[in-house]
Symmetry: C2
Subunit: 505 residues, 2 copies
């Protein structure tokens, strides 16, 4: 095998300019799923990636996933002729050798919008090489990693080394807005397309730091809220009417203020219910991780942290719920000093849930709490609460064949054992894929913690991009070489997992 | 005199189409003082009104009032050649007959911006006649009333009836943003230009209802706050970092939520200090006013009121401080569901103060309170509080010659005695004019309570515009006919007023 590894690694090194060029093309498609006017760019990016799969010989299908429902209850038109449809999901397969294992790879082509406050140093969709980094929207989330899988498979083909496993692909374009419509498709695929899948891998998160590779086995879930308070039908002059009416913005602010205590801990009653306690073994592991609160604080340019204790800080990020308020719509938010009373305002916040909290149950607790507070306040203004994207958290078994293979692949490339980490961000597709394949899912991050995903100047280290491709290639070998799990053992493990997942429904 | 009155009234009636056309021209200048890109329109409106004054024979001067300081500490450029200057104030005088009294008239040419949420049924700067109303930005605040004074004076001239009094004028273009720079000019004018002024009149507020004319003797003051909370130098992903950092928007919201109690009453410690108690005579007068809480509720299209007791409700609007939160800048306020932590957010609110609360003292209380709360919260984020427009409240003596003359003028035109009212809105120029002239100031509203000043579809009833012009003409006669106050009596009254005003410095 070592001869093959040398050949592959040499090929990957030699392909660096081409790999960068490919990513530049992929990044140049502004496939922002959150913005309706970019919906056709999402479709374009899906077609682009489908073509890449075709080129490595995959059988590729576009699967319809139905109509999109946005919070107002309306549908988003897609094109003049094909309106109201969500972008298709790209489903592919490569290889059907029954003697080989089959790996299911998931990825997404859509990216987050670019906000004014992000201060990009260049056009986010014109990828630039800045020192040792590639910079552009989507390079690390998730265009670089997704392209990495294809580059790795292509490397086997171009070097005429037989692919050691079969592949299946599920690639979507609506991940950044909650993978709408995907779950129904996954359920459908579970009966047929997923039948011979042995393992699942996702590369769509990040290392804990800048230097040490990681494997990730846990994720928080997320629930998104839009809460609206509506008062008078008119905008009122605050001089003439201030003191006489209940002001919608004051009502909204009082509700939002009641979400967290002064230390940023959620105050919703029973919000700490159903949390899976972390055991002493995991705590010990946390304390050994390559992570320093002071370095973290400097990296995120924060004036302070809610905790400087390493384990406590990681628990807050990974194992405890949190609530972030993102914005208020329809207040007088333009420059100027209006003396008006808002008539209808909307607050946006998200709740992070942790294993094994059922998102629907938590969402209901938050809703009940806010409704009760509003009632107690006695305001005549109307409160409306919309909940969407109830994404389940994820906690995998990191001792499986799949995790071991990924770990060995990382050791071969990076010459060090990966840290076993969780992540605070949500990826509802992880648990959905485990559910629909009944196989375990490994998260193999490609980028570093400071890749600024979802932020300004998003980047991916060239070294991480190249080594990531090598890790994927090694992972294929390691999976093929790993001992097959005893079928009874596997069934027992899967039943245990299923029971765990059922807690969160 | 009745012959003269008949002639004047007939002339005014006959001029209706011309008066409307004049107002339409005035309204067509979008003289929005709050928006920098309309600053030259403010200058244009000032020139337009100066020309109108010239045409009635007034001696007109433009007075410089210095540079504008906005909250960021920057200056607003006005034109390329004349940058950084505030729009001039128009100062005029007409008549110098030493046997006649001199009336000082104040007005402003600037208007409030048009906000999207106001839902105008037409271009706000293209004044339309809608049934019995004139509709457009500024028709009632304050272009209609200001033009009304000039129309009234012109009526005397065109009908060849001798003007019974002399006039002075002070007309500004920055009223809606706090009359910046005006006070210094008024101080300067007090030593010379204002020397022979006998009375002051302002028509820049509204009736209490729709049917009964009013004279207004009291106003609340206003203080405006910009409070900024600044956290990390980066926008952070709430999944990765939520729970680990103190979020600026949460800090801001907790501060804003602490301003009012659940019933909309300010909670700032000692904020009810220095309030002049209203006496039983005034309470009795309130209870007799033409005002019904249920009608008021319907008029402002509110789902409810903080009180349904007539006197209590009027006290809340006129005699008690209130705090309105107007908006939050720099949060994620565009459509969409971002999962980001804001890095720097700014909250805007205003505090209404009442006679005899010193605005500077109240502002300091609010500032201390917020700073203390933020300190107690222990957030590492930086709080910055900017205070501006500390406008003093106003409470006049409504028994003076000036008020009596205005009252008699109203009776002649409307055939009923005016209600004596206060107003919740601020007009810091009222007390400043009293101070700089040492004469009493009467507020003679032209429009009705439902004129939607500062709101969508601002309007002025044609009947109020025409009758307002007649009231002004009658007021000139009544002032001329009123008995001169004994100089000792006047000095005593003025000393009492000065003592009262000094309380608020």
């Amino acid at each position: 095998m070592d001869r093959k590894v040398f050949t592959l690694f040499s090929f990957v090194e030699q392909m660096q300019p081409k790999y960068i060029e490919r990513l530049r093309t992929f990044v140049s498609i502004p496939s922002i799923s959150e913005q309706q006017d970019h919906r056709l760019d999402v479709v374009k990016a899906l077609r682009w990636i489908a073509y890449k799969l075709k080129k490595i010989g995959a059988d590729v299908r576009f699967r319809r996933i139905g109509k999109e429902i946005i919070y107002t209850g309306d549908h988003i038109p897609l094109t003049a002729t094909d309106e109201l449809e969500l972008p298709d999901v790209v489903v592919g397969s490569l290889g059907s050798d029954v003697t080989k294992r089959t790996l299911l790879i998931y990825g997404h082509v859509d990216v987050k919008p670019v906000h004014e406050s992000e201060h990009w140093s260049h056009d986010p969709f014109d990828m630039q090489v800045r020192g040792e980094y590639l910079c552009g929207r989507g390079v690390t989330d998730d265009k670089g990693p997704l392209l990495g899988w294809i580059n790795a498979i292509e490397a086997f083909q171009k070097t005429k080394i037989q692919l050691p496993i079969n592949f299946k692909f599920v690639i979507e374009g609506m991940e950044e807005v909650g993978s709408e419509g995907l779950h129904e498709l996954l359920n459908e695929l579970s009966l047929s397309f997923f039948k011979n899948v042995d393992h699942v891998a996702i590369s769509d998160n990040y290392w804990l730091g800048q230097n040490k590779p990681c494997l990730t086995y846990g994720l928080r879930g997320v629930i998104y809220f839009y809460i609206t308070v509506e008062g008078s039908d008119r905008v009122l002059h605050s001089g003439c009417h201030g003191g006489a009416v209940a002001e919608p913005l004051s009502d909204l602010i009082s509700l939002l203020a009641a979400l967290n205590d002064s230390q940023g801990r959620p105050m919703v009653p029973d919000i700490y219910e159903d949390i899976e306690e972390i055991d002493s073994e995991e705590i010990a592991r946390f304390s050994r991780l390559d992570f320093q609160p002071q370095v973290y604080k400097a990296n995120i340019a924060a004036p302070g942290l809610q905790s400087y204790d390493k384990v406590d800080l990681l628990r807050r990020r990974w194992c405890l719920p949190s609530i972030s308020i993102h914005g208020i719509e329809h207040s007088f938010d333009k420059p100027g000093a209006p003396t008006l009373i808002c008539k209808k305002v909307m607050g946006k916040f998200s709740v992070r849930v942790v294993p094994a909290q059922p998102p629907k149950k938590v969402a209901q607790k938050v809703k009940n709490y806010l409704e009760q507070l509003h009632k107690l306040r006695g305001s005549p203004n109307k409160l409306d609460i919309k909940i969407f994207r109830d994404g389940r958290p994820f906690l995998s078994d990191h001792t499986t064949v799949n995790y071991q293979a990924a770990s060995r692949a990382i050791i071969r490339v990076w010459q060090q054992e990966p840290d076993l980490t969780r992540d605070g961000a949500a990826m509802p597709v992880a648990i959905a894929l485990e559910e629909s394949t009944r196989k375990d899912v490994v998260l193999i991050p490609m980028g570093q913690s400071l890749d600024f995903q979802h932020e300004g100047n998003e980047r991916l280290a060239i070294r991480n991009y190249l080594n990531g491709i090598k890790v994927f290639a090694m992972y294929f070998f390691e999976l093929a070489a790993a001992e097959r799990e005893d079928s009874e053992e596997e069934a027992a493990r899967q039943n245990k997992r299923e029971k765990w997942r059922l807690k969160m429904v």
